[in-house]
Symmetry: C3
Subunit: 109 residues, 3 copies
């Protein structure tokens, strides 16, 4: 049993969850915030049998399309009250960051 | 040291947390959403000494009673605006899904 | 690759995240609740290269100052409607609780 932890954009979270559920997988969603952009995203937790991890990763890659966007992060040196943002950055958004962790014990009570 | 990650129903989360805390355990709660029912539930994170994992699992099992309910998940093919839900399902709710992960390093700073 | 999971006070979360991001680290924040005080705190998730874990732990320790405070937890035996809290406790707040977990697979799609 593995724990697949994926951080995905909010735009992709709903269709990703639907796709995974329709294929019989189980998932738990957490509302999260990206440290750099300080924008909301979604952290998906999935306990997955080892032999199904590759399939899950494939699904995530198909549903979450990575794309370039120009964005303005709230500068850590100023706050939201600051009307002038001195820089814009081009970042890759969408896509997914995936961590696979080993699970020593998995049970339902 | 192990990390015990438990997904429990919101109805059980408060009494589960109280019971664990009264017994001296430490816990951190995250508000989460089940992928299938799209309803709120609770993800509990607990760093637990290896020799106490069994006790923690026993407590979770005693507090979180699993039961059958008829529920209507919001269909992934429609949205909340859709007034007609074409199906109801009997699902097991309550109970807990538990993952035990190994912790390589645990420290407080 | 390791997953560094840190539970920090809300007061420290913003400056901690800024400091980590300025040094090039990536982080995802989750809003969480401490089981004992039932107060909001922040759970930070960071995928970190193994040789950078020590640096990350040092940063967390420098930014999150641990201090003593007198606090009144909402008693698990009563509820928020209860006007009389029979006890106050001195607890250590601030600081950080850190768990380092091994990551078997890390990828971006
Ligand atoms: N310190 C930094 N300096 C310069 N650029 C930076 C940066 N941190 C992030 N970025 C850039 O900004 C994008 C959004 O990052 P954010 O932290 O808001 O949102 C991130 C974060 O929530 C999560 N994430 C990615 N890698 C992570 C890791 N190693 N640990 C924890 N969370 C991670 O996935 C979201 C998307 O990450 P992704 O890498 O695709 O895309 C990142 C990356 O292109
Ligand atoms: N391997 C895993 N990885 C990550 N999270 C997990 C997990 N197994 C369970 N969970 C979490 O625990 C909640 C209860 O799961 P349980 O299997 O008891 O109870 C489930 C199960 O009886 C059923 N169910 C879940 N996914 C299904 C699917 N793909 N197809 C059919 N029935 C499903 O609906 C109930 C509620 O599911 P929901 O997703 O709303 O909420 C789930 C989910 O948040
Ligand atoms: N092993 C672990 N697993 C999961 N999460 C953990 C953890 N150790 C610490 N945490 C998280 O870190 C926060 C601060 O913990 P700390 O031990 O520094 O500071 C704690 C500790 O001094 C005390 N405390 C916590 N649980 C206690 C208990 N069962 N009995 C007596 N004192 C407790 O109250 C402070 C605030 O605790 P609170 O639960 O509100 O918030 C905790 C909790 O969210």
């Amino acid at each position: 049993m593995k724990l697949v932890l994926s951080i995905v954009s909010n735009k992709d979270a709903q269709s990703l969850t639907s796709t995974l559920i329709k294929k019989g997988y189980r998932a738990t969603k957490l509302a999260s915030t990206g440290g750099f952009l300080q924008a909301g995203n979604t952290t998906l937790l999935m306990g997955v049998e080892e032999n199904q991890v590759e399939d899950v990763i494939t699904i995530i890659g198909e549903v979450c399309r990575s794309r370039q966007e120009i964005l303005t992060p709230i500068s850590p040196m100023t706050g939201p009250a600051e009307p002038y943002y001195p820089y814009a950055v081009e970042v890759q958004v969408g896509g997914a960051t995936i961590f696979v962790l080993d699970v020593e014990k998995h049970l339902k009570v």
